[in-house]
Subunit: 210 residues, 2 copies
Amino acid sequence: MKLFDAAWAPSPRRVRMYLAEKALNVPRVSVDIRGGAHLAADFLDINPRGTLPALQLDDGELILESSAICRFFETLHPEPSLFGANPRDVARIESVLRLVDGEGYAAAVYAFRNGHPRLAGKALPGCWPEVPQIPALVARAGLLWRRFLETLETRLAEHEWIATDRLSYADIAAFVTLEFGGVGRLDMGGAGEGVARWRAAMAARPSAAA
Amino acid sequence: MKLFDAAWAPSPRRVRMYLAEKALNVPRVSVDIRGGAHLAADFLDINPRGTLPALQLDDGELILESSAICRFFETLHPEPSLFGANPRDVARIESVLRLVDGEGYAAAVYAFRNGHPRLAGKALPGCWPEVPQIPALVARAGLLWRRFLETLETRLAEHEWIATDRLSYADIAAFVTLEFGGVGRLDMGGAGEGVARWRAAMAARPSAAA
């Protein structure tokens, strides 16, 4: 199998951190998204959507979406569990993951894609015709981002990890999202001591450099 | 336990269909979202986000997000599997689910929340201060929705079900999203014979009336 990966982008980074925490090695092909290689014919032949990450299995089947790729490996290698090993933990991790994606990640993408001059006409990630930026989405991103930071702080002021009593995929997703928010110049004002402590703990893990 | 449910809204409907397909009975409390009961003090005391569905466990813990609630029950009752019983099916279902949510469901929510006069100032679901509508999101919704219909048609023109060789949670999510798209007056023009055949099969299942 082969993991199509990309430096800097948040979704490929989730998968790299997940694989590092699971101590799994998967052959990688790095696609230069800053140079536009994800939208060139070579990669679109593999993934017509032009999105990363993408996992190609040995028979050619392509698995898209970071959470789907991680769940593929989680089913193959359940230990240590990063998606929960009992009904409550499974639900807690999925619930936090959806809140991270619906508030934090959505906000970061809104702000970055609709506010960055270099992305004019490219307001949706992947392979699309011209998609105009919507400047009003940058303001909406601010609302969602503030709620995301409040959600994190409420939890992390009283708990070590974001969803369960140990590190899970939800921590990885939230951490990568928090880092990505800085790229969209989102205001970190709502993050308090709980977030700062947890963020430092995440940044110190070897997987953060994967 | 108690499932806070709501008529008409798409996310509670996903959970009802899932529970019906699993033949699980869970006590339900219906919250009148059209009457605004989800934003009244009684419900906000239970779920400060004001979102539905919400599953309250017997010790009071609250599980939010439809996919988290369904995964809770899936872990308790793995058979018949609706989230996949092997690594490939798990990944396929999650991948399709993410595409359904990122294209179809996002489009339906964009169009409905930003285009409906009754929702002026309420452009995000749940408990928020005034959130202005962004009319340009209705046009963006059209792009995403067309891609969603193409994704469905490409798959369903050649396969019976949307993610694997049997009905899965991805079919439920896609079907409910397709129905919800009509509410936002999204154009069904991209749906071909594959979608029509599958949609009729889904609509004929007893779970569609749950």
